[in-house]
């Protein structure tokens, strides 16, 4: 390129030009460079000659479409960048291909931009890729968009046609929450309303393309958000152990206490390291690379996220993601992919496709797979704990890509709606606990009672029949002379858990306490039946861990949402549908059915009596000690 200069006013701004194939993106850029006198010597002549060789009039797009194949097919294959400046500031223009096949290249270009120009053909109006590109800009987090209605020469510079197209694109942008900063009628080929107002469209008194560009604002790294530094590496090149990363948001200072997630290890910043600076920095802010040394040698690895203790990221092994799918093979439920989130990597499984989103009509659709270039909301579950943020809270740690084999197949933004922070469950708060050995054994208690103590954990949707069955099973077992007790919302929420509400975090804590209490009952020799929805698989696994080995029996009281909603014994579904109850499982909060329950009782096919029989038989089978001694052994 020519002497592109940075001196002078204004901070550089990166803009992307998007739109449907053949609506004139490359032509717009080529002409813009010519009009701002930004083409190098000989380029105009070169392009003119190349155009003539192919029997075309001056083809501005050749300025950018460098590849031979692109010139031959007259379409842009890959994204490119070019530098120019206005009186206000320097620009990097990113040209993105409009052809559907090259969507991955459009995304690669657009993701670098701070603002976008959306080109729409005045003759053709809003087309498939116009909408798709706008939608993807929105998904990529771009909020500054100006529209140019191109090829006004083809419609006789008619104000009526411009207003029709303007109406059409405004309506679509509005529906995805984008407000264009300007909508400019232009003819890129003839330079109308690019650098100078066009006398052919005197009916238009808005900004030219250049004024619209100069109206955009540069985007800086978010220093005002909570601190996030994804660890890139830990170096030990000399006697220093340096943790390397980039401050994605917030600020860090020497002597700050920081926490590493998901490990939850805490340390204090001893120094910030920098090579070649006269004195070491004491503070770093968003956008800067850092090297950190600690006051003590805690274990740190690539993928950890550094934050301050009071504003740490969320820990979860399950989250919702809005994905754009770029894979050749469709995304399907049950598929495993490699997740990359900031510098962390983990295996994830697609647990559910909530719905796909038609970028043309914006309608949600049920689907069991997502095709190439589709957009969908999915639930991803990882085997390991992830540290992350909701995209809305912190973009850099709230977005991810998926890798299949060697290919990047998706990008997505994270939502944690309905999923609790799992941080506080991670371990005992007090470390000064020692187990006191009991003199009585479980065997001893079992021999006296004639059965072992155990947790029988019911799970299922509201209305599946948990409470009804629990009460009847309790009655039957009691009649059989067994020690039995039911823990349910009524007796637990009244006392033990009266400080808890129904927010995701409170639900998690509710179930944790029930799990611990149930384990104590079981240890005391009682068969304890719990009757809670307990929607999260992770929570039930924790309850299982709390109980003795082989002392936990998960019983899935199974009925589908439709059936439960019809039964609606407490009228809760009706209220949830009416929005009176928030975070209601099955309606506005997820339910994760068990994968390996010890017993499944389908209450759609079994009536109450048959269900009770099933459960009582199961319990007698597993928990009754058969050869009950008739007398206490003597003569030890």
């Amino acid at each position: 390129m020519t002497g592109y200069s940075h001196t002078g006013p204004g901070q550089q701004l990166q803009i992307v030009v998007v739109g449907h194939v053949d609506h004139g993106k490359s032509t717009l850029i080529g002409r813009l460079l010519y009009d701002t006198d930004s083409l190098p010597d000989g380029k105009y002549e070169e392009v003119k000659a190349v155009s003539e060789k192919r029997g075309m009039p001056m083809e501005w797009s050749f300025v950018l479409d460098a590849f031979q194949a692109e010139r031959d097919q007259a379409i842009t294959i890959d994204t490119t960048q070019i530098w120019f400046r206005t009186a206000a500031r320097p620009y990097v223009i990113i040209d993105a291909p409009g052809h559907r096949e090259f969507l991955k290249n459009m995304i690669s270009g657009a993701a670098l931009a701070e603002a976008a120009l959306l080109v729409v053909d005045a003759e053709e109006g809003v087309r498939e890729q116009s909408r798709r590109h706008a939608y993807l800009l929105h998904l990529l987090g771009l909020r500054q968009v100006a529209v140019v209605v191109n090829k006004m020469d083809r419609v006789g510079y008619a104000a009526e046609r411009f207003h029709e197209v303007k109406q059409e694109i405004s309506a679509y942008l509005d529906s995805i929450g984008l407000t264009p900063t300007a909508i400019v009628p232009i003819s890129a080929r003839h330079g109308d309303n690019l650098a100078r107002p066009s006398y052919k469209m005197s009916w238009y008194d808005g900004p030219t393309v250049l004024t619209a560009l100069d109206g955009f604002h540069p985007i800086s790294a978010p220093s005002d958000l909570p601190l996030r530094i994804p660890v890139q590496d830990v170096y030990k090149f000399d006697d220093r152990r340096i943790i390397a990363g980039r401050v994605e948001s917030g600020q860090i200072s020497v002597d700050d206490q920081i926490v590493f997630s998901p490990s939850n290890r805490i340390a204090t910043v001893k120094s910030l390291e920098a090579w070649g600076s006269p004195q070491p920095p004491i503070r770093a802010r968003a956008g800067q690379p850092v090297g950190i040394t600690l006051d003590e040698q805690v274990f740190v690895e690539r993928g950890d996220i550094i934050s301050h203790v009071s504003s740490a990221p969320v820990l979860s092994n399950v989250f919702r993601a809005t994905l754009f799918w770029l894979g050749h093979a469709p995304l399907a439920v049950g598929n495993r992919y490699r997740l990359k989130l900031a510098t962390d990597e983990a295996w994830v499984t697609v647990e559910a496709i909530e719905h796909t989103i038609d970028t043309q009509t914006l309608a949600d659709e049920d689907a069991d797979h997502v095709d190439r270039n589709g957009v969908a909301e999915v639930i991803l579950r990882s085997t390991e704990m992830l540290s992350l943020d909701a995209y809305r809270a912190n973009p850099a740690t709230g977005r991810c890509v998926l890798i299949d084999g060697y290919e990047t197949v998706a990008g997505g933004t994270v939502s944690l709606e309905g999923y609790p922070d799992q941080r506080r469950q991670k371990g005992p708060k007090s470390e000064n606990l020692t187990a006191v050995e009991h003199l009585l054994t479980a065997d001893g208690r079992g021999r006296r009672n004639g059965h072992r103590g155990a947790v029988v954990w019911f799970t299922g949707l509201s209305g599946a029949g948990k409470s009804t069955l629990a009460m009847q099973v309790e009655q039957r077992l009691f009649a059989l002379g067994m020690q039995v007790y039911v823990l349910d919302g009524d007796n637990v929420r009244r006392g033990l858990n009266r400080d808890l509400g129904f927010a995701p975090e409170d639900r998690v804590e509710n179930i944790r306490r029930v799990g611990e209490a149930a384990a104590l009952f079981a240890d005391a020799g009682v068969i304890v039946i719990t009757a809670f929805i307990s929607p999260y698989r992770g929570d039930r696994d924790k309850a299982r861990e709390a109980a003795a080995e082989d002392g936990f029996h998960e019983v899935y009281i199974k009925a589908d949402l439709e059936t439960c909603e019809q039964r609606d014994p407490k009228g809760l579904y009706r209220k949830a549908r009416a929005g009176e109850i928030k975070e209601f499982t099955g309606i506005s909060a997820p339910y994760e059915p068990p994968e390996t329950a010890e017993l499944v009782v389908d209450t759609m096919t079994h009536d109450v009596e048959a269900s009770v029989d099933l459960i009582v038989d199961y319990i007698r089978d597993r928990l009754v000690i058969r050869n009950r001694p008739t007398a206490v052994a003597t003569g030890r």
Partner: protein, 265 residues
């Protein structure tokens, strides 16, 4: 200007650290030109004074003598680990290429031999988007096929600083930490940081090299710019492309594209 250079530097440092964390073995091409030297400087910043991978010079033995002298001095002063890879002779090149392009292709072949022998998974190169229009379309992490060639028709998506670091055995990734810099950015940075450069960039007797290549296919331009400040002033007003003095760029419409698809830097 300071903020702008800081932002460019931060991005390059991030890229270098990603490459080092994810690709092994890793090497960095060092042509000894101004971009290469800025890149080397950035590596020392990224790794706190160290360069934790070898530098590789693809040597045609056709560089100007000043270049070799500069190289030897810097290797000694900075204690660099340099591997010099001798490139195969011009007679071994594709004879359908125009003469200067054919000469430049020697580096492609030298690199290919090195990759085959040493099995590099990552090769860092100091190309920039503003140099040349096919380079403008590059990815920061750009995978190469088994034979080292570039499939520009099907480049991987690259966004949100998530880079291509998974590659099949036997193939490699080119890493381009300077892709987002411009020629004038490099000079501003060279000045600010005090990075040494080969004196051939500074005008003597009305001529200077704007872009350094082998002596048989690179020519000096008319210039009186004898200091970095004067070079910057010259670049602010020039309308001549940087690579105007590179013969291979001008032999045919697609000569550089052909070089690059076959694996040239």
């Amino acid at each position: 200007m300071t903020a702008h250079l800081d932002a460019l530097e931060a991005r390059s440092v991030y890229i270098l650290r990603e490459a080092f964390a994810r690709l092994e073995p890793l090497g960095m091409l060092w042509s000894i030109g101004k971009d290469s030297n800025a890149l080397l400087w950035l590596a020392r910043k990224a790794f706190f004074g160290h360069v934790p991978f070898p530098l590789i010079q693809l040597d045609t033995e056709m560089e100007l003598p000043e270049v070799y002298a500069f190289r030897d001095r810097l290797v000694a002063d900075w204690d660099l680990s340099l591997k010099v890879e001798l490139c195969p002779p011009e007679e071994a090149m594709d004879q359908t290429l125009p003469p200067a392009t054919r000469s430049a292709a020697r580096k492609t072949e030298g690199l290919r031999a090195l990759l085959a022998r040493d099995g590099y998974q990552g090769i860092i190169a100091g190309i920039r988007r503003d140099e040349q229009s096919t380079r403008a379309k590059e990815r920061v992490f750009s995978p190469r096929r088994l034979d080292g060639s570039w499939d520009f028709r099907d480049q991987p998506p690259e966004f949100w600083d998530q880079y291509k670091t998974e590659v099949p055995d036997g193939t490699h990734v080119r890493i381009h930490p300077l892709l987002h810099w411009t020629e004038i950015d490099i000079w501003h940075y060279t000045k600010r940081e005090g990075i040494p450069v080969v004196p051939l960039y500074f005008a003597r007797n009305g001529k200077r090299y704007r872009s350094l290549g082998e002596k048989n296919i690179t020519f000096p331009i008319d210039s009186d710019a004898a200091t970095i400040d004067e070079i910057i002033r010259e670049l602010e007003v020039t309308r001549t492309p940087e690579r105007a003095g590179r013969a291979m760029d001008h032999e045919a419409e697609d000569s550089f594209e052909r070089l690059r698809t076959s694996g040239y830097m």
